[in-house]
């Protein structure tokens, strides 16, 4: 027996009759149809025919809506604003609009879902980027009145810009400035972050520490999370009881958040220090990105680092202290600068040897915050680029939701016309539409914040785990919430206003006369959405091309030759000096480890060097003996690396001329140096550099050039050539060195063996920062890899959204042209021709979009060329790849509406006329 009830229920669904009443109607109709069916059967009609007849009768007239009494439909009022005028109470009106809006959204769950998802992705991308910018640029220092903080740096008296370096100050100079200055309410010095060894029951552990002068925390204006900060006695030179303040993250992580951590004694670099306090959460010292685990008084520097900080508190040539100061209220940075200049001049006169040509400059604190991260300006630039990208992604999302709303408004045009006809004002209708948009955007805002949070977590999960506790942690704070909320409101107007205005403009008479099925946007509306669509495709194309260019750049960078071998390289950082070893024992340690590791199976050679690969930067000035001293503005700084014998062999750096270090280059023999080609060409252009002598800043005796080696990369991959000086370890002792091991095969295979060997020889020395060559390359390329990931994600997002938009416009246009297509087919057009025709229409838009995008991406590519590791902005593979992906996706988006068009039944389509 046919399921009459189901047939009837299907037809009643759209009427939304109150359930009990609906059940009654269904039962009554089903009885009737069954009676009619039985009657036909008993009249000799077969079952199929009988069923057909009954069904035809069911279809024979407009189904219930026209005839059904109003009461049946009353329980759910239409979401379109009714004709009533404002109640006079804006809050009551808003509440009513809100209820209508909510019902309207619930009534069309698919529309609501797609719109909210689209907007949430856009808002989420913006939240992610803004959260990072908020933590990194807007609120980098959790201190009181950060705008009054400045950095005080040393610089060359003349032509400081050309010399390029903003240098730290010596401790003694800092003390002189601090005691005589009048512009600052507080002034404090601190060292760069130093790796230290913390002795624990489980063995030595590497921690990061900063040595700071007494008033450090007071000058910054922060309060401890637990305990207290340094007192004056504790920071004085020769203080009896060494103390330390630990960071909040170290307390929570390394010390498990123990309540009794204050008063705890730690053994740092063989010195027992007592923890007296915990810094507040989020405080990374004077850095926006990377913070230490603990702070120690600067007076302890010689105790903690006997070699590196030897005489650092008295020797004015040892410039290792960065200075932060708080301007007095009402004092400008330039005034502070002016007030310090006479002090600098006095120091130059008093200590001509050390402070000759030196002065100080007062810089914005941001120079210090982003020190080591390429400076504030490059971070601001990257942030702006990212913000623009995510803003465009959001714009695409908005235009798609606007298209959806327009299509929906078209479907409701008839009803809206009725409302207008019975007296609703246009303003009232627009307000109702906008309320619905705001509701949509608020839902999206909530979802977007979730996506933003997940996005930040995901990005940060890429950071190296061993330093994750020291890194800035982006947080969704009030600023982010406020911004997301504001963005959502703006978004609501961006996507809601146009559809609201357009739909409320319905011409009452036209719309009422017109069959609702034929109602829709006019030609102008369609061409406007075409224009928007071309823009979307162009933007998706640009994002995809940029992502592809970065990807190709990174790929190339992986294969770039840094000038030394990385495939069979492993490095191990050690600091026997921090274990309390004297110079003799440390030297013995270096020699023995080199010998023993070299003989391990799988190891080709081993050597020591002070610098880690890609961690060096030009820091020491150099002057040539028997040569007219260069102008101060032309001072050349060089990278200095202390290396042991076998270093160049281990690293496979070719020797161009002369020789490399041997066992003979030891204390007491002629001070020797190997330089790179860049330095040789810079200082001895067209002449032989071998045999010449030069003086490094801070050295008393000159060194002789004994060899010239090929220039390699020292700071990053593909960098501009930098001068470099290599000094022999045996003439230039250091407490901590990095062991470089060249393996015969994959370096991953020898890591455990080498570490075991070191531990067997001396279990007290901690081996940290164990890395293989390929891993180091990966770390160097961290930033461009993140760029590839972000651009890839945002580019794909843009493409996905644009495809949805393309699909929507195509589907809408096909639906609008059903009759035309039906007529064409009735007149003999084949399905294939119709399919081709519709596809061509859609793909024309795609081609125009790709054309516009191509132009834009060529321009953008040129601007980005510096970051592409030599990949040209016209790289054919990137352009072709992006075009292919985009056209494929666009084809799919056009295909389904086109197929639907080709399946239009000419009869059905024509019957609609």
């Amino acid at each position: 027996m046919p399921d009459w009830k189901r047939e009837i229920r299907n037809r009643l669904t759209s009427l939304q009759i109150e359930p009990a009443r609906e059940a009654g109607i269904i039962e009554e109709f089903a009885e009737h149809l069954e009676d009619r069916y039985q009657e036909l059967l008993s009249g000799g009609v077969d079952e199929t025919a009988a069923r057909k007849i009954v069904m035809r009768e069911l279809e024979s007239a407009e189904f219930l809506p026209d005839a059904l009494p109003a009461r049946e439909r009353a329980p759910r009022p239409e979401p379109v604003p009714q004709g009533e005028t404002s109640s006079g109470n804006p809050f009551a009106d808003f509440g009513r609009d809100l209820r209508y809006g909510l019902r309207a959204l619930c009534k069309t769950p698919l529309f609501t879902f797609v719109a909210v998802l689209t907007l949430a992705l856009g808002i989420g991308a913006n939240t992610t980027v803004f959260t990072i910018i908020n933590s990194l640029l807007l609120h980098p220092l959790p201190v009181t009145e950060p705008s009054r903080l400045v950095a005080v740096c040393g610089t060359q008296a003349k032509g400081s810009k050309q010399a390029g370096g903003l240098l730290p100050l010596s401790y003694a100079d800092f003390q002189d400035y601090a005691s005589r200055q009048t512009a600052f309410s507080g002034m404090s010095a601190f060292t760069p972050i130093l790796a230290m060894t913390l002795e624990r029951a489980t063995g030595p552990q590497r921690v990061f520490g900063e040595l700071v002068t007494g008033s450090y925390f007071e000058a910054l204006g922060i309060s401890p999370a637990a305990g207290r900060f340094f007192s004056r006695d504790e920071t004085a030179v020769g203080a009896s009881a060494p103390v330390a303040v630990i960071s909040y993250n170290a307390w929570k992580g390394k010390f498990g958040g123990a309540g009794d951590v204050v008063g705890h004694t730690l053994e740092i670099n063989n010195v027992a220090v007592t923890v007296i306090g915990v810094a507040p959460p989020g405080f990374l010292g004077v850095s926006a990105i990377f913070g230490p685990d603990l702070w120690l008084p600067s007076a302890l520097c010689e105790q903690l680092f006997p070699a590196e900080f030897h005489n650092a508190l008295t020797d004015r040539s040892k410039t290792v202290f960065h200075v932060v100061a708080r301007l007095k209220a009402g004092v400008a940075r330039s005034q502070a600068q002016t007030s310090l200049e006479p002090l600098a001049a006095a120091l130059r006169n008093t200590y001509p040897e050390a402070d000759e040509a030196r002065t100080v400059t007062v810089r914005p604190i941001t120079d210090e915050l982003y020190w080591g991260a390429g400076g504030g300006s490059s971070i601001v630039l990257s942030s702006v680029v990212l913000l623009v990208i995510v803003a465009l992604v959001l714009a695409i999302a908005c235009s798609n939701v606007a298209s959806l709303l327009l299509a929906r408004a078209a479907a409701r045009r008839h009803e809206i016309a009725v409302r207008l006809a019975v007296g609703a004002s246009r303003g009232r209708l627009v307000r109702q539409s906008l309320t619905e948009s705001i509701l949509l955007s608020l839902l999206s805002c909530a979802a977007g914040l979730g996506i933003g949070y997940a996005g930040c977590r995901l990005l940060w999960s890429f950071s190296p785990p061993e330093v994750a506790q020291n890194l800035l942690e982006p947080k969704l704070d009030q600023t982010v919430f406020t911004l997301a909320f504001l963005v959502s409101l703006v978004t609501a107007f961006a996507f809601g206003l146009m559809p609201a205005l357009r739909s409320s403009k319905a011409d009452v008479l036209d719309a009422l006369k017109e069959d609702t099925r034929g109602a829709g946007r006019g030609r102008r509306a369609v061409s406007f959405s075409n224009l928007v669509l071309v823009g979307q495709i162009a933007f998706s194309f640009v994002s995809l091309v940029t992502a592809a260019l970065f990807l190709r750049g990174v790929q190339r960078a992986y294969n770039m030759d840094p000038g030394f071998q990385t495939q069979h390289l492993a490095v191990f950082m050690m600091n026997p000096g921090q274990t309390g070893y004297g110079e003799a024992r440390t030297k013995d340690f270096y020699r023995t480890i080199q010998e023993r590791v070299s003989t391990l199976p799988g190891v080709a050679s081993a050597s020591w060097a002070y610098n880690m690969p890609f961690w060096a930067s030009a820091s020491r000035a150099i002057s040539i003996e028997r040569r007219e001293p260069r102008k101060k503005s032309e001072t050349i700084t060089t990278i200095v690396n202390t290396v042991d014998t076998n270093y160049f062999e281990t690293m496979a750096i070719p020797v161009v001329r002369g020789r490399v270090f041997t066992d003979a280059d030891r204390d007491g023999t002629l001070p020797a140096a190997v330089i790179n080609q860049e330095l040789a060409e810079k200082y001895w252009p067209g002449r032989e550099a071998l045999g010449h002598r030069f003086l490094l800043a801070g050295d008393k005796t000159p060194r002789q050039v004994i060899g010239i080696v090929r220039t390699t990369n020292y700071t990053t991959l593909g960098e501009k050539a930098q001068p470099c000086v290599y000094l022999p370890l045996r003439q230039n002792f250091s407490n901590g060195m990095t062991l470089y091991v060249r393996s015969k095969a994959d370096p991953g295979g020898i890591l455990a063996g080498v570490q075991a060997k070191i531990r067997r020889f001396d279990p007290n020395v901690e081996v940290s920062d164990v890395r293989t060559g390929p891993k180091m390359i990966g770390q160097v390329l961290w930033a461009p890899r993140i760029a590839v990931a972000l651009l890839g994600v945002f580019g794909s997002l843009a493409l996905a959204l644009a495809s949805v938009g393309l699909y929507g416009v195509m589907a809408y246009s096909v639906n609008r042209r059903r009759r035309e297509i039906g007529l064409r087919m009735a007149l003999g057009a084949s399905r294939g021709r119709v399919l081709g025709h519709v596809l061509r229409n859609g793909l024309t838009l795609v081609w125009i979009g790709v054309g516009v995008g191509l132009g834009a991406s060529l321009l953008l590519g040129r601007a980005l060329s510096r970051m592409l590791f030599g990949i040209s902005s016209t790289d054919l593979i990137s352009l072709a790849g992006a075009s292919l992906v985009l056209i494929l996706v666009a084809f799919v988006a056009c295909y389904f509406p086109a197929r639907a068009a080709a399946r239009v039944d000419p009869m059905v389509a024509l019957r609609d006329i």
Binding site: G24, I25, E27, E28, F29, E31, H32, L33, D35, R36, E57, L58, E59, S60, A61, E62, F63, L64, D66, A67, L68, P69, R71, E72
Partner: protein, 114 residues
């Protein structure tokens, strides 16, 4: 006007009267009403489910008829419609108007009146 449309218009105008008339003597269910209209009109008038019930619901809404689910032995549960006192008055009124209307029309369209 095409014949089919004309039929529809006539039905609309007279349908309420037909239904009220059929319910005057006894209560009936929808299918019975349909069949009676078809049989008594000699097949000239035919109501389908989608035209009949909306009319019945509207009459009920206006208080002219009352529907009630009744279960008779050996039969399925059915909804029977009966005239309300108000419906009776309306029927009398409509019947009178109809007669006057038909008479008036007849005077115009019948050949003997020409």
């Amino acid at each position: 006007m095409e014949p089919e449309n004309a039929d529809r218009e006539w039905k609309k105008g007279s349908a309420e009267l037909l239904i009220l008339s059929l319910l005057e003597q006894q209560s009936r269910h929808g299918y019975e009403i349909c069949k009676l209209i078809e049989v008594r009109s000699g097949g000239a008038l035919r109501f389908h489910v989608t035209t009949l019930y909306p009319l019945l619901y509207r009459l009920e809404e206006r208080g002219f008829v009352q529907g009630k689910w009744i279960e008779k032995p050996e039969q399925r549960r059915r909804r029977y419609y009966s005239l309300t006192p108000q419906g009776r008055k309306v029927l009398a009124h409509q019947r009178q108007s109809w007669r006057e209307f038909v008479a008036a029309i007849s005077r115009i369209v019948e050949p003997e009146n020409a």
